[in-house]
Symmetry: C2
Subunit: 488 residues, 2 copies
């Protein structure tokens, strides 16, 4: 889920030197009115993997903010007083007064992280604990506390390198949180992702900070803190909307940008593979256990990426009685009169069948977001609603495959022009398509956010380069076959 956060986000020292005074000013401009108005207090939770340099990041923040109204509370092993009282007691004890800010180093997520990583609690107990944390944070927020939660990430190899350096230095430093140690990197990341997914709400959002590059890391932290405090001061209150994790807030590469568009396939090998996979798909769909599952395929992507063509190659080997293709465009009156997912729930296939969506519920966070058809609050909460919806489906035993078909801006232009010039394809190009091209960058950000926030382990996104249509069609067929083979 942290796809974007794993991409190298760098900031050269020159840019940083120029940015630094601006960050400092933004932080103070945000903090000082808050100190004066005493409208709310602020908690900055610092969590995530060790070796990310959380200590340094906080130290830098301290230097940039007004330290008279800032305190850093570190919670390691419980001291005697705390051992004799319920777990939350020491956090309650140290809550700052309105106007003040406290950095929480070692938050109430620690216990749960540790228990889950060491398998001391099962999934249900884990979710229950997260639910209580959510309610705790909701109450704090209702009582005038701004809660900003930061999860620092970095790739395993970088973490390894960093931790070696630290040990070599042999400097006196605080004991590494054992669970955040290198050997638990994978689990810590997975559990962390789950926590962020479950506990990122509008009133207490998580921000994932890529920490490979110290300058980028500290700038991202500072910019996010400044922005959040300023917004809270202006809004006057916190509007509760489900807000999935936001990535740092700085210009960033998204997973969509990182797709390798050079992948291609020549005609002869393509036809061979197509035959092969279409036969496999046909066989799989005939198996007895097909009746125990259902398949939901979602196709999204740039205009003219080739969604229709990919879908045609998928249905070719299937018995028409067991699939339906649903081209999704503007909602009907009946659909507008009901919750937006209703139009997709009515198209949920029965067991044994396929439902193929050419565009889907994801339009909510794509076109409706970019064009403003859905309000900010609406599309923000949609990510988690979509995740829940897909979980209902997969819990029931259905397979959900989501494909993002990507092409470059240049290739899109070429295809648009080709459509205009080809008589029988002219219906496929409209003024709207040309208008959408103008918003290419906005759509790219929306797609990147979508991938970040809705790629779950039970319903992951498959990013497919469709610059070469043949390559795309084989990727799609292969993916479907692989997923179906696991189940039937």
């Amino acid at each position: 889920m942290f796809e974007s956060a794993r991409l190298p986000q760098k900031m050269d020292k020159k840019t940083f030197k120029k940015l630094e005074p601006e960050l400092r000013e933004a932080l103070l401009e945000a903090q000082l009115p808050v100190v004066e108005k005493k409208d709310f207090s602020t908690l900055i939770l610092v969590d995530g993997l060790d070796g990310a340099g959380k200590g340094e990041a906080v130290a830098r923040l301290y230097g940039w903010m007004d330290a008279r109204h800032l305190v850093c509370n570190a919670y390691g092993e419980k001291l005697d007083e705390a051992k004799l009282r319920p777990p939350l007691w020491r956090y309650w004890r140290d809550l700052p007064a309105k106007g003040e800010t406290a950095i929480v180093f070692g938050s109430w997520y620690q216990g749960i992280l540790r228990d889950k990583i060491y398998n001391k609690i099962d999934d249900d107990a884990f979710e229950k604990a997260l639910m209580r944390i959510r309610r705790f944070e909701e109450m704090l927020s209702n009582e005038g506390v701004l809660i900003l939660k930061f999860w620092f990430v970095l790739p395993k190899d970088v973490q390894e390198e960093r931790l070696k350096k630290i040990q070599k230095k042999n400097a006196a430093r605080h004991v590494l949180a054992d669970w955040a140690a290198l050997k638990h990197h994978k689990q810590a990341s997975q559990v962390g992702e789950k926590i962020i997914l479950e506990t990122s709400k509008g009133f207490a959002p998580w921000f994932v900070i890529p920490s490979q590059d110290p300058e980028y890391r500290d700038a991202a932290l500072a910019q996010t803190v400044a922005r959040a405090m300023k917004l809270r001061l202006e809004d006057g209150e916190v509007r509760e909307v489900a807000a999935p994790p936001v990535i740092g807030g700085l210009q960033r590469e998204t997973a969509v940008d990182a797709i390798d568009l050079s992948a291609s396939l020549d005609k002869a090998p393509y036809e061979k593979k197509r035959e092969k996979y279409q036969k496999i798909l046909s066989d799989l769909s005939d198996r007895k256990d097909m009746s125990k599952t259902g398949v939901i395929l979602v196709f999204q992507g740039n205009d003219a990426a080739g969604k229709g063509g990919a879908i045609r190659r998928v249905i070719r080997p299937l018995d028409p009685r067991i699939y339906k293709v649903h081209p999704i465009s503007a909602p009907t009156d009946e659909e507008k009169a009901r919750p937006y997912l209703w139009r997709f729930w009515r198209r949920v296939p029965r067991k044994g069948h396929f439902a193929i969506f050419d565009r889907s519920w994801y339009e909510r966070v794509l076109v409706e977001r970019v064009e403003g058809f859905a309000s900010h609050g609406d599309w923000l909460r949609a990510y988690n609603e979509i995740n829940e919806f897909e979980q209902e489906l997969t819990d029931f035993g259905f397979i959900v495959c989501k494909f993002w078909l990507a092409i470059s801006e240049e290739e899109q232009l070429r295809r648009f022009k080709a459509r205009e010039e080809t008589a029988y394809k002219q219906h496929k190009i409209t003024d709207e398509d040309w208008r959408n091209r103008l918003k290419w960058d906005q759509y790219a950000i929306a797609a990147g956010d979508m991938i970040d926030r809705t790629s779950t382990h039970y319903a992951p996104w498959t990013l497919v380069s469709s610059e070469n249509k043949r390559h795309a069609r084989i990727e799609v067929l292969k993916t479907i076959c692989d997923r179906l083979e696991e189940v039937v």
Copy 2:
């Protein structure tokens, strides 16, 4: 938790005949503008114990509302189409369009109720399932659906009688929901209470309908539906606040009204019992296992009920080093600058100790509610926040005893006068006390709601008649001894 709902709520036929046309008018006045504006759709969930007459109540509602814009969807055993799709599919399929109302007979709570009553799922899985329901309802609400949930209750003996009558009639009727059957009465009530506690939120509140008396039942249902639709239409949107179960909305007796104030104790037996229980308490507090627990005592009640005197008799046998008495009044500046529970978290005792609160966090839902010091939203969400707070304490192994000391209005007047006339007690009576007397009824409702909404199995309320102070003091001592004995 349904204390109030178990009290006989009756309405004689004459009153009902007079009320009926008013109810009818209120319902139509609420429903018709909704049909016209098409602002939102309405779901009326009908759940609870069998034999309560849910069918008759709905039939009556049908007669009073405009049936052209009302539909009743019953969900019993899954039909084939539904078996082939995820559980929520059939509810989604039948969602009404904006402006319309659908009665859901056999809601998404059925499965969870059944599983929990038959012990097919453990506590954690149960809570997780409830959490997902909450998110489902939150999404529906965000998408413009007004969700009203009704839980019909009646005492076991009445249910028994009703079910016998139904069987005798031998009329063709729908199959009784097995889990709602008589033999599961206790579990169904307990699980129902838990569900209501966990899933009653401002956007999807539960209403508990006492169903011993059919006229009262139907009037409560109608009045609540009319009121809720009207408010939603006026508000224009649903404000999300945690709203614990509301009881029907009609003038009702509360558990506080039902306390038997005639209980009394003469001086000699009183002194004997006092010595006995004070000795037991002293011994218990000396036991080795006392270090594994902590005791939190909360004293609330009418002014002049005798909280102070009861507390003095409790601390008499205890070592002063192991207890603290916290008299709670107006918050300090520091306390006002933090979430309201902070002032109590700082007074949480360490293991092995007692913390005794003369007034407590319950002032939020008593004086702050009646006098308007806390906003409607603030005290409404406080019930669940208090329950969560107390659960943090009991989860850690602490004992939480809550006492409501009750006296009659007349007795309060007598004691107020006595204080005025006694020199050394004059400080105990202020203008404020006299002013509060004017709001006796409002305080009674607030206290009743408080008992209903915060009497949990881990931290129940003990209602004590303090009309006779001696009786009250013994009840208090005895309760504390009993609770402590279970643990040390």
